[in-house]
């Protein structure tokens, strides 16, 4: 599922509300049936988070970063080892485990953050503009891997972006405009409904703003 919106539409605010970094003033958000306000820890246990800006510890190695986060999720040593093997394989990080994060490229760091978010096998993965600072090849790699992941597992991905080229026809798209849901349908349906491309639709919305 893609949350699409121009800059300032409210994507990061939504992400911060779901991830409990911001407190809800009104309304309710439930993740896998758990309220983020009243059942915070249960809700967080069901989601993996990839923040817009890096949250990796630059002083530690890739393996140490993964291990630290897995520990915060409550995984024991055996589970950490098994899950680390799985996620580094998924994101082609086998050769980087011993490397210090500060020595890696932006694309590799982003992959580590996704690996880290997946280490506890959350049913929901939330990515806040995860590809915005990446070059074309790194972006393509991540988009492909994330689509593979949703096909091969039960993981749902909430992909927030302002980049229309990351949206495929069959994706469910929620368009955010100035903090409100403008529309919610598949990409193909939206294009048909408004008789225009998503890009043109976003441009129109931002010009109206």
């Amino acid at each position: 599922m893609v949350v699409l919106g121009a800059n300032g539409a409210g994507k990061t605010t939504l992400f911060s509300l779901i991830s409990t970094l911001l407190k809800l003033q009104t309304g309710e958000i439930r993740v896998c049936g758990h309220s983020v306000s009243s059942q915070r820890t249960s809700a967080l246990a069901n989601m993996g988070l990839v923040f817009q800006h890096t949250t990796l510890d630059m002083d530690l190695t890739v393996g140490q970063n993964l291990s630290y986060f897995a520990g915060l999720q409550g995984l024991n040593g055996v589970e950490i080892e098994a899950r680390t093997t799985d996620v580094v394989h998924l994101l082609d990080l086998q050769n980087s485990l011993g490397e210090k994060v500060s020595r890696l490229s932006g694309g590799q760091r982003r992959r580590i953050e996704i690996a880290r978010a997946l280490i506890a096998e959350p049913p929901l993965l939330i990515m806040d503009e995860a590809t915005s600072s990446l070059d074309v090849s790194a972006k393509t790699f991540l988009c492909d891997r994330m689509r593979d992941l949703t096909r091969e597992t039960d993981t749902t991905i909430l992909w927030s972006t302002h980049l229309v080229e990351e949206v495929a026809d069959q994706d469910r798209v929620v368009i955010l405009d100035r903090g409100k849901v403008f529309d919610d349908a598949t990409c193909a349906t939206l294009c048909k409904k408004y008789g225009t491309s998503l890009e043109a639709l976003l441009l129109k919305l931002s010009q109206q703003g």
């Binding site: 970094l21 820890t41 897995a70």
Partner: protein
Amino acid sequence: MNNLRRSAIVFKAISKRELLKFSQQHARLLSALVRPLVWLVIFAAGFRSILGVSIVPPYQTYITYDEYVVPGLCAMVLMFFGMQTSLSMVYDREMGTMRLLMTAPFPRPVLLLFRLVSTGLIGVLQVYAFLGIAMLMGIEFELINLLFVAPTLLLSALMFGALGFLMSLGIRQMENFAGVMNFVIFPCFFMSSALYPLWRIRESSPLLADIGAWNPFTHAVEAIRHQLYGQFQTFSVIYLLVVTVLCLAAVMFAYEKHDIMKAS
């Protein structure tokens, strides 16, 4: 999963990270030892010949000045460590790693407490390293008392860490930190019984002595001093406990009730 087992795993993860980061910061490790040693070797040696300390509890006899300042320097190690902890909280907020901790599926107050305890334990290890060197230089302590003082060292480390956490709430950028250090560390250190007994300060300034008597640093110094000599200073320990709990409660309230990460 059993809550206790889960807590142990989370605590281990946080402690391991703190230890890994600390072990890579060689300058920090070195400065933590050199700073009190400079006071002990240079300052205390200079004052040894001109300043004697009369018999005051817990001492049974006249002592040399360098022996007198060791407990204060232990507290100084812990205070610097506590302030550096607050610096690392600000750094983690700037670098984003604090977001990771705050979105872990575990109660936030417990996560903050775990972080405080894990850094406090590292601070205590530094004090023991300093005490080891002080003993090599001829300051004598009974081994049993070195064990006896451990809980008070940890409590003092927690208090300074909690104070540091509290200060970190008001510091939005690392650049602002140096000024805060100067306004907190030096007044705390000099307006305490670390370098001279409070009754000596009272002779020249009763107001300063009164401030010293309320200063949490004084109580950390006195609790450590008494326990290093096998005595228990109940009032100081209770004072430390109260200050620690109040600071921690304020920090946890701030993280729980307000959008602390909003500005990061």
